[in-house]
Subunit: 159 residues, 2 copies
Amino acid sequence: MNANAKVLDSQQLLIHWQGHRNLTRRVIEAFPEKDLFGFSIGGMRPFSKLVLEMIAIGGPALKSIVEGTINTFDESFNPTTKAELLTKWDEETEIINEYFSQITEERFQETFNLFGQYEFPIYQNILYFVDNEIHHRGQGYVYLRALGIEPPFFWERER
Amino acid sequence: MNANAKVLDSQQLLIHWQGHRNLTRRVIEAFPEKDLFGFSIGGMRPFSKLVLEMIAIGGPALKSIVEGTINTFDESFNPTTKAELLTKWDEETEIINEYFSQITEERFQETFNLFGQYEFPIYQNILYFVDNEIHHRGQGYVYLRALGIEPPFFWERER
């Protein structure tokens, strides 16, 4: 076994995640503004709220991991327009790039108590952020289909 | 930089995927049989068809990667009961364990032409299988909510 063999490196994981974030951004754009904030199925949250959950996780979590501080989970940001939501999304894109790149590969196997509640290895926390985004975005796809709107292709991750 | 540092190793990725597969199995179980095969929203496929796509990918793809053979994508398995679908799901669980463990860590960065169409590094192909499952399972969550059924918790991955 080559000691340098690895499933993927941290830069590849960042590119993977940002590819998903590109797709999520295009799903946000695909919603009519009123449906982004108002449409839902079966008592679920509208897509804007699902996106706000993603925004409350990614950047703040990475900042906390890099700085070693325990921040509480904060979902107080409450935009009322698609433009505001997209502006925040793009700000978080830069924050994620900045902080992700400061996590040395050695740290991914370390345990971190995220938001003072989720004590798992850092690689599991980061996979959770990506998985949670895919999960909720998949729900957004159903909302779009129910609205008669064709969602972006799932496999297209580039801008 | 420690040369042994890694984001995660292949066994951790397998555990991560099988955790997701446990959850997907519980989502299948949560559907009433007739809705599993018949219910959908916005012209989408019923959940059984989404699950059959997952079944057509995971095990066959790993077998192909390990054996170095190019198999065509085959979605011909067509069960009509939940029990048949779950039996096949559990068979694939064993196939995935068997073949995944035969992929040496060196190979994850190699390119493989999956199903003769998807020429990507093996780590990207495998992340795609997991992501595709999360995406479609998230859609299944909306179907369950629309049917008035509480889905399993997203963060519970153990049996």
